[in-house]
């Protein structure tokens, strides 16, 4: 702490000098007049990120995801050239987007292939399995999504929480089993969220977004961010009204909430894409699936014997809402303003949150006595948790 002015300056200089060299090198390679790397042919690429069906019109959002600027020259539907309008204009710099409006008398629930041809004659295509009117915001629809979100998120989680009295009465090893079961459940959800994020990015995002690495990066950032925040919460629990089990339960509720947000997105998007039958299935599946999430919250909470009955009930309801209600927001966003990029981000944040919760629970089990996490109840709990999730996921 007693650094003199000069030594402080030296520290800063030694940090800045290498960086200055990096800048110089970049200027030399890419700067004006540099032709060192002027070889090879850059291939243009555009990605059709979104296709919306309006009355007698198809609108597509096109993004330049290649290394060079492009000019949109032609739009087609099912490989048949159509007159169209590009807003604001057809010239797209890297990562710029434009809206291509194609007047077209489309038919509901038929598949369509939308093509965009750019100035060098390359055609890019996106296939829509079944055309349906774009969901435009109406209070009715918003209420509909809220009800679905409640069915999928809040109610199942609340039902799961009803296991609390049961978990409370059981022995320590059985309690460990339930905590481990939670770990298994969450592990499954985390992997599921990552898979979903990668799937969305593969189907809808251009290669230049590096979907898998984007997912990995967001998962890790979400994980360390929440880990840091969670640790603060637990630290504070020592000298605040929150007991440690309650703090952990709260973190689990937050983690699951982030996850359910992703589920809401999936349901909203499925309704938005017109696959109503598919989304009905999703709703039933998620509802069953999410009952198990209630158990995950109930596990650590049951440990807290100090809570009064009234305060316990308020906490259960509160945690149920924290964990469940994001499904409603997810459904709204997924239905009304779906964007594949934000979906990937939200799914990955959810996955990071879940892994963070897993670490916290595992630590709890260790503190409770099973230092190696190799007790039969722990091992069986994780395995059964995964299995239960897998079996209920088949329903989705």
């Amino acid at each position: 702490m007693a650094l003199s002015e000069t030594s402080k300056f030296k520290v800063i200089a030694s940090g800045v000098i290498p960086f200055a060299f990096v800048v110089l090198m970049m200027l030399y390679i890419f700067g004006p007049g540099a032709d060192l790397l002027d070889f090879g042919v850059a291939l243009p690429e555009v990605t059709i990120e979104k296709v919306d069906f309006f009355d007698s019109e198809i609108q597509t959002t096109v993004r330049n995801t290649g290394p060079i600027p492009v000019q949109i020259a032609i739009a087609d539907v099912n490989d048949r050239i159509q007159p169209a309008a590009v807003e604001p204009d057809g010239f797209l710099d890297r990562y710029e987007t434009a809206l291509v409006r194609i007047p077209f008398e489309w038919n509901e629930s038929e598949p369509y292939r939308i093509g965009i041809t750019i100035d060098d004659g390359t055609r890019f295509e996106k296939e829509i399995e079944s055309a349906a009117f774009v969901l435009e915001f109406t209070p009715d629809l918003a209420i509909f999504f809220a009800i679905i979100g409640t069915y999928v998120g809040i109610i199942p989680v609340m039902i799961g929480l009803l296991w609390l009295p049961f978990i409370r009465k059981i022995s320590k090893s059985k309690y460990h089993f339930f905590l481990a079961l939670t770990v298994g459940l969450l592990l499954f959800l985390g992997i599921d969220a990552i898979e979903e994020a990668i799937e969305v990015s593969n189907e809808n995002l251009a290669g230049s977004f590096n979907g898998i690495l984007l997912t990995a990066t967001v998962v890790v950032i979400s994980f360390i961010g929440l880990y840091y925040a969670g640790q603060k919460l637990i630290d504070r629990a020592d000298y605040s009204k929150l007991t440690k089990p309650v703090a952990i339960a709260l973190m689990i509720a937050i983690g699951i909430g982030l996850h359910n947000f992703g589920e809401g997105l999936a349901i909203g998007a499925a309704v938005g894409l017109g696959s109503i039958a598919f989304s009905t299935f999703l709703i039933v599946g998620f509802a069953l699936h999410n009952t198990t999430e209630g158990i995950a919250i109930a596990g650590p909470l049951s440990k807290d014997k100090t809570l009064s009955k009234k305060s316990l009930i308020t906490k259960l309801i509160g945690f149920g809402l924290i964990a469940g209600s994001p499904a409603i927001f997810g459904a709204w966003i997924g239905g009304f303003s779906y964007s594949p990029f934000s979906s990937v981000i939200f799914l990955a944040i959810g996955a990071g949150a879940i892994f963070q919760v897993i670490v916290v629970i595992l630590r709890l089990i260790r503190e409770e006595g099973d230092k190696n996490l190799s007790g039969s109840s722990v091992v069986a709990g994780i395995a059964i948790g995964m299995l239960v999730m897998y079996l209920t996921s088949i329903l989705v």
Binding site: I74, I81, P83, E87, P88, P103, R123, S339
Partner: protein, 351 residues
């Protein structure tokens, strides 16, 4: 310790804000404000502040002028031999480095004879002696292979002409009567054809044909993204050109169209005429028409002569009845005006 923690928080916060900024604000390009309108097939009027991309109906021009090509016949530099034989001399230069706007806003590397796709229409009378001075200014080997009757050494197959100024003189007697294609015959053949090295060779009968408004239509396709499927189809290269630039003809005037199908990848092409039927002479080798029809099917390099007259003025489509082709550009309009000579049709047809 405190400093590192808060730094971490700041980093996390800025990353989060950065990511959400990308999510929330898609970076649309700078807006234009002028309101434009255009009308679609169904008559719907679309208003947009953006850019209209409509190669179908919006009048636009590109470098190559299909209207000029349509009625342009090259008879060569004419001289006579001592025995009275007409000699027609042509110079044809091949190039393969030109990038041409083939549809408004779409640029494609065309390989050309005398700078255009199709190359110049060579026209001679049966029995004329043809001398074609071929110069290859391209970067690859090229030739000219004429369909017709000629000695083996003039076939343009085994006599590859080197790049960068290679020369060859094709000399043969024009025949037989009819309409024939010519094209490059260097391997890989398909590549040399689809890039545009082809043209039309017309041999007139000695006694001539009945005077008519004559035109050449090469039915071709362009595979601009090299996936062995045509992205565009056209009569004379430019998609939809004769739709927004109708071909003007007159009632009660004989129209003669020399049609040559040069489409690759797709096994067939066809030609359907609206509001009329035509006499069709396959390959143009016979003076008696084989069909009276409004629809013929053409395989690769299959060609023929169509003759027809319109009685009623107005707009008539002609297009591939393989509708995929017409919806990718092989469609046009004959705008038939009332011929001054006949004043019988005062009546308005249709609305």
């Amino acid at each position: 310790m405190k400093i590192t923690r808060s730094t971490l928080m700041i980093v996390l916060l800025s990353v989060t804000i950065g990511l959400s900024a990308i999510v929330i604000f898609p970076n649309f390009s700078d807006a234009e404000s002028e309101l434009k309108t255009f009308i679609t097939h169904s008559g719907k009027v679309i208003r947009t502040t953006g850019e209209v991309i409509d190669p179908l109906y919006t009048v636009s021009t590109v470098e190559f002028d299909p209207m000029e090509y349509l009625r342009e016949f090259h008879y060569g530099t004419v001289s006579k031999l001592s025995d009275g034989t007409t000699v027609r001399e042509y110079t044809i230069i091949a190039e393969d480095d030109k990038v041409m706007e083939v549809s408004p806003g779409v640029f494609y590397n065309v390989w050309t004879y005398n700078g255009t796709v199709p190359g110049p229409t060579i026209r001679a009378t049966e029995g004329d002696l043809l001398k074609i001075n071929f110069i290859n200014n391209g970067s690859k080997e090229h030739t000219i292979h004429f369909h017709g009757i000629h000695p083996a050494g003039m076939d343009g197959v085994f006599e590859a002409v080197g790049p960068g100024g290679g020369k060859f003189v094709y000399e043969f007697e024009a025949g037989p009567v009819g309409v024939h294609p010519y094209h490059c015959h260097v391997m890989p053949l398909e590549e040399h054809i689809i890039h545009g090295l082809y043209g039309v060779f017309i041999v007139d009968p000695k006694e001539g044909r009945e005077p008519a408004d004559e035109m050449v239509m090469v039915l071709n396709g362009l595979d601009t993204d090299f996936d062995t499927e045509n992205n565009f189809y056209a009569a004379n290269t430019i998609p939809f050109y004769y739709q927004h630039h109708p071909i003007q003809i007159n009632t009660n005037e004989l129209i003669r169209v020399y049609v040559v199908n040069m489409v690759e990848f797709d096994p067939i092409n066809n030609f359907h005429l609206h509001g009329n039927l035509y006499n069709y002479y396959p390959t143009g080798t016979d003076m008696v028409p084989s069909f009276y029809t409004d629809m013929i099917t053409l395989s690769q390099t299959e060609r023929g002569i169509m003759e027809f007259e319109y009685t009623y003025p107005g707009k008539y489509l002609f297009h591939a009845h393989k509708v995929e082709f017409s919806e990718k550009g092989w469609v046009g309009i004959f705008l038939v005006s009332d011929n001054a000579e006949s004043d019988e049709s005062e009546t308005e047809y249709g609305t």
